[in-house]
Symmetry: C2
Subunit: 396 residues, 2 copies
């Protein structure tokens, strides 16, 4: 296979002496980003409550959108016809799409994060819209209009090609937590075969505009994770992603990553799918993860919460009555209007009054806070002060 990704590059420019942390430059046709970095979720071709201009004000480098949602509405053909996802959503920076598999296999939107983190106590696949999983791919029912839809490694690649993001993900089965090791092993092996089919399909249409990530599966089993990681390293993927079930506790998640990364390709960017609390970012930057994504910056905003440096639980909830007369801004260290120009009392009022602006302010603050976190992390890696920075951000 001859995939060379001529318009992409990942240069590791600095390695931390005390940990696996590293600085990198991830080059795409829509610009180069510094890593470690954070990829914000624009699930349905839009960041919840924020315009691209507001994302840029918050110093955002890269965003993602979800293949599953877009293939159902408005459809990949329409987006291709409209000039591709960058143009469609007015985002000219680097852009990633996932494969669609995660949402198909997850237990419904609200339960996804619990599933990744092993907090779902059901057994096996319980997504009521999932009809079948076979070697060919999977069949599910559209949440938009109920029609049956087949998604295969080949069709996921085709859809992602039409969407036109810079960074793509292979199609994989996102194995749940509460299945036995045999199921997880068989599933992982199928995801590896699916990965090969993705590479073959990708190569058929490759014009240099996109870079494909392989995904490490294997559940919470160290031996399986190693096999899957070595598989991705042996194939001509551009990058490596950590996927699937990551265990039931922080420690288990760390074990899974420790069992995976040493066997991943050492020179490729590593993306952690769906993970992105502040504590996670610190832990996994230490272990060599280069990019993160998670819905929480904007989801927290919709629940009235703001990321805050150095507070227990990483967030404060502005709905709390104690902010009713708090005339201080959210955080003037973020050079963005949302964090500097409104009092907590005002945001409290907006949330109580049901004003969309409240959510918008919190969303921009949360994005700006995470972007500042990532900038400070990069600076700290360069100066060897990552542990000190972690102490400033986290309370234990």
């Amino acid at each position: 296979m001859t995939l060379t990704y001529p318009n992409f590059a990942f240069d590791i420019t600095h390695r931390d002496q005390k940990s696996g942390a590293r600085l990198g430059l991830l080059k795409t046709p829509h610009g180069t980003i510094e890593t470690p970095n954070y990829i914000f979720c624009g699930t349905k071709a839009a960041i919840k409550a924020l315009s691209p201009a507001q994302m840029i004000e918050a110093q955002t480098d890269i965003i993602l959108s979800n293949t599953y949602h877009l293939m159902l509405q408005p459809g990949a053909d329409l987006i291709e016809k409209m000039g591709g996802l960058h143009k469609f959503m007015n985002w000219n920076g680097p852009l990633l799409t996932d494969s669609g598999g995660f949402q198909v296999f997850s237990l419904g939107e609200g339960a996804m994060a619990n599933e990744i983190k092993g907090k779902n106590h059901g057994k096996g696949h319980e997504n009521k819209n999932l009809i079948s999983i076979t070697e060919e791919g999977c069949v599910f029912r559209s949440y938009v209009d109920g029609r049956k839809i087949k998604l295969t490694p080949e069709s996921s690649m085709e859809i992602q090609r039409k969407l036109g993001a810079d960074l793509l993900m292979q199609f994989d089965e996102c194995t749940p937590y509460h299945v036995d090791k045999d199921y997880t092993a068989r599933s992982m092996e199928m995801s590896m075969r699916w990965g090969d089919r993705c590479l073959a399909q990708f190569e058929r249409h490759d014009n240099g505009a996109q870079g494909l990530y392989g995904i490490i599966q294997g559940g919470v089993h160290a031996d399986l994770r190693r096999i899957s990681a070595e598989y991705t390293a042996d194939r001509p993927f551009f990058g490596t992603a950590l996927g699937g079930c990551l265990g039931g506790s922080d420690e288990e998640m760390e074990t899974v990553v420790a069992a995976s990364l040493p066997y991943a390709h050492a020179e490729r960017p590593v993306h952690f799918l769906g993970i992105g609390q502040i504590k996670d970012v610190f832990r996994f930057v230490h272990m060599g993860v280069d990019t993160f994504d998670c819905v929480i910056p904007t989801r927290l905003a919709r629940h009235g919460s703001a990321f805050m440096q150095g507070v227990p639980g990483e967030t404060i909830n502005l709905k709390n009555a104690k902010y009713r007369e708090d005339n201080t801004p959210l955080d003037e260290r973020n050079a963005v209007s949302a964090s500097c120009n409104y009092s907590k009392a005002y945001i409290h009022h907006l949330l109580k009054a049901g004003e969309i602006l409240g959510m918008q302010i919190l969303a921009q603050h949360n994005v700006a806070t995470i972007n500042r976190l990532m900038r400070e992390i990069r600076t700290a890696i360069r100066s060897g002060t990552l542990d000190k920075l972690e102490k400033e951000w986290r309370t234990h």
Copy 2:
């Protein structure tokens, strides 16, 4: 009475030769605006779905907020404590508050516009939260927590003083359409006595920071409108507002204005309360109205509609399937991202997907469109081409 409004001015700089249209400069402590102009509604101390920065991008000069909503939540005392409404909502330009009366007397939020325009077929006051109207003032039940609240001319002035807007409205009874002339006359006379009490209360605390408008009532009756207009002209109000029931048709509304404005003070700014479709703006600018306000720019956005120059009904609805593959932007004549950088197909997608960004884009587009309308109207008055401009904007 010695009210002189030293920090306020209204200079009429040009008068149209063919109509009552005029250009003016309305000076307030937070800046001078050119008139005719449009005052956008930030009902609960926030423009629906838009930040102050987005309002400024859309070239907005002046906004308003509603005393009724703010007195109930978060309360005028809190806003005063937080430094006043300008600081609270991060709006540093001219700002107007109404008296609270309109919402108290209206039949509930959805029915207000119908009531002004005489389209409500109920009889008398049917607001289920309104408990009593007496000479002293009115008593109503808070929609927030059910407590009984009294609002009087004096308390309305006190609340508006604490809120700290530049332009204030006297407290008046907003008489419904379907009451007889006797009721309307008695109501108007009471509003005149209330106006005197407002002036007295205003003067007690006047520090030059605020300017008070008197309101012309009198329902659809020309003789009453004249009496009310002459009343406002005889009192030391800074400006004149057109309020109350304006009739059941466009013609009736025009008759009401024609019966009022000749008797209003000729040198004071005239504000039209709650009126602001494009056709209304043209008709009443012709008759000498200087400022308008209406919720429709942002309300239309929430319903998926965009103001559009020269289309029947003034708007298009982006939910319509015909926009599914329409790759054109809303209107590149508006120099704002919302109007230029997104295709109708994308906005259609956002609305179908329930993304807040769709509403935000439409709200900013609608505000920008109305602001462009007002700029073009001012230019046309200067060059004597108002009729030509109206033909470009309106289809009949």
